[in-house]
């Protein structure tokens, strides 16, 4: 089951660059929340703060609190534990090129020392079914490399890989921006199904996509969160002039 996320006074820096300024918001459990905004507004940095990937860059720094469920992720736990509870899908599909499809999906479990073949088989099958890839790859699980799939299939493979470690939250950083329209719509259908089991945070440049998949939408601009509300309200009757300008295409 997914859990909610509470973010309070979150600030983040890349070197001297203050990329996130005083972010406060509550992301509801078992819903999809979209983050929109122009390039460089901080929305990718924001999701990378939710699984402590931001700090893997040596010049990065972060302050504030993020609670995921009952866990204060910057105070109570190690980064590796948090990343097992908070899965991430990146902008460009990044399967492990030397691994088979099976090993890609099982990677998170195997690399953390899990080796029960029987259970692994089940988890791989379930994860690939959940990511709607099973029927396309079930005959080549161990024969084909993850890199041999098409771009859209690779991205669904990466989703399966993230799901296999059984996270509570799934972060998606523009998961469809490198894909064709057919693959994009498959990913969107998937988000729709997955949000009953996981809390989903999706960064997107595509406002129609935000409107299609998310109940809640946040608008970021210049490192600040301008507005956070139900998707319907953001796209029909935003409270802030800057949000309205952005969604009507007056800038960005």
């Amino acid at each position: 089951m997914g859990v909610g996320i509470e973010v309070a006074s979150l600030n983040a820096w890349y070197g001297a660059n203050h990329t996130l300024q005083d972010i406060n918001l509550n992301i509801p459990a078992n819903h999809a929340t979209a983050l929109i905004g122009p390039s460089g507004c901080g929305k990718s940095t924001f999701v990378r703060c939710l699984n402590r990937m931001h700090e893997t860059n040596p010049i990065a720094r972060v302050t504030g609190t993020v609670r995921i469920g009952d866990l204060d992720i910057y105070a109570d736990a190690k980064p590796v534990e948090i990343r097992r509870r908070v899965g991430m899908v990146f902008q460009r599909p990044n399967p492990f090129p030397t691994m088979s499809i099976y090993d890609n999906v099982a990677a998170g479990l195997k690399l953390n020392g899990y080796s029960n073949r029987h259970v692994l088989d089940e988890i791989v099958e379930r994860s690939l079914k959940d990511s709607a890839l099973w029927d396309e790859v079930k005959d080549d699980l161990r024969k084909k490399s993850g890199a041999s799939l098409s771009g859209g299939q690779q991205q669904r493979l990466c989703i399966a890989r993230a799901l296999a470690v059984d996270p509570e939250v799934l972060l998606m950083d523009e998961p469809a921006s490198a894909l064709d329209p057919v693959s994009t719509s498959k990913i969107e259908d998937l988000i729709f199904q997955l949000k009953s089991q996981y809390t989903i945070v999706i960064v997107t440049h595509n406002m129609q996509q935000a409107a299609r998949v998310a109940e809640k939408t946040g608008f970021f601009l210049n490192g600040r969160m301008v507005e956070f509300d139900s998707t319907h309200k953001i796209f029909t009757n935003p409270s802030d002039k800057r949000t309205e300008d952005y969604i009507t295409g007056r800038f960005g």
């Binding site: 990937m53 534990e81 990044n94 030397t98 998170g108 953390n112 080549d140 490399s145 990466c158 470690v165």
Partner: protein
């Protein structure tokens, strides 16, 4: 087209000349017997062939782990540190040290009453010569692994050291293997570092603490001998050495490529 010819021609010329000069002296005895005393016709180089194998095994056991360890340190853990720059500089200088100097240095440092001329000291000399090549190719191949692949592993909650071992090195392994093979092929033909260390041995010996024979040493010894039969055997030994290097490199590549999946890049 012209450049292809220019690249391939020297190889074919060397290979062709070795076959022309050496093939006629190859026979069963060459591979199964040890050298006959000076001036007697016949005998073989079984001890040198096996000796080269022992020396290269020792050299690989020393040079490949240290070299890969150095490359992993340079690319993954020490990036930007002073120590890493020092290691990289040292590796480059080591790569430029003439092989005869390497032999004399190992003679001075390793060959003592406790460890006289021996297979071990020869293996150490060759092993040290392998390190810089293996280190620098390992570093370069690891740096070519896309950042996205590392991030994918970290985002799964995999600790950094585990991600380096199981993901980054594995992704870079074809290139790292090629680097090891280059280093192997280079030291397989080295004579100078062995003159003061492995020394050579006309008898059958595979003991690690005794002088041991090697193909390059025998080629050198026979090529300057006054006997025609030994000249012919030197040519045959040169041909065998080249063929064995090609065979070893091909075998490793074949074994390494068997694990590769369809469509893997």
């Amino acid at each position: 087209m012209l450049s292809t010819i220019l690249v391939v021609a020297p190889l074919l010329a060397i290979f062709g000349y070795l076959i022309y000069k050496g093939a006629s002296s190859l026979n069963w005895a060459f591979f199964t017997q040890i050298p006959k005393p000076e001036g007697e016709v016949g005998g073989g180089m079984a001890n040198a062939i096996v000796g080269s194998g022992v020396l290269l095994g020792l050299a690989s056991a020393i040079g490949i782990p240290i070299g890969i360890g150095g490359g992993v340190f340079l690319a993954e853990f020490g990036r930007g540190t002073k120590l890493a720059n020092a290691v990289r500089f040292t590796a480059d200088v080591l790569n430029g040290v003439p092989s005869i100097v390497m032999g004399v240095a190992v003679y001075g440092l390793v060959v003592t009453p406790a460890m006289p001329f021996s297979a071990i000291s020869g293996g150490i000399a060759l092993g040290i010569m392998m390190i810089p090549t293996v280190t620098r190719t390992t570093e370069e191949m690891l740096l070519m692994v896309p950042h996205a692949v590392r991030e994918a592993a970290l985002a799964l909650g995999v600790p950094n050291w585990r991600s380096v071992l199981s993901i980054t090195i594995k992704t870079a392994s074809p290139g790292i293997i090629t680097g090891c093979m280059l280093a192997f092929a280079r030291v397989a033909g080295e004579t100078a570092p062995l003159i003061f260390t492995a020394f050579g041995n006309s008898n059958w010996s595979v003991a690690l603490n005794r002088p041991i024979s090697a193909l390059p040493l025998e080629i050198y010894r026979y090529a300057i001998s006054p006997y025609d039969d030994q000249h012919r055997q030197a040519w045959a030994a040169a041909l065998v050495l080249v063929v064995l290097i090609v065979a070893a490199v091909s075998l490793v590549r074949f074994v390494a490529s068997r694990g590769v999946l369809k469509g893997a890049s």
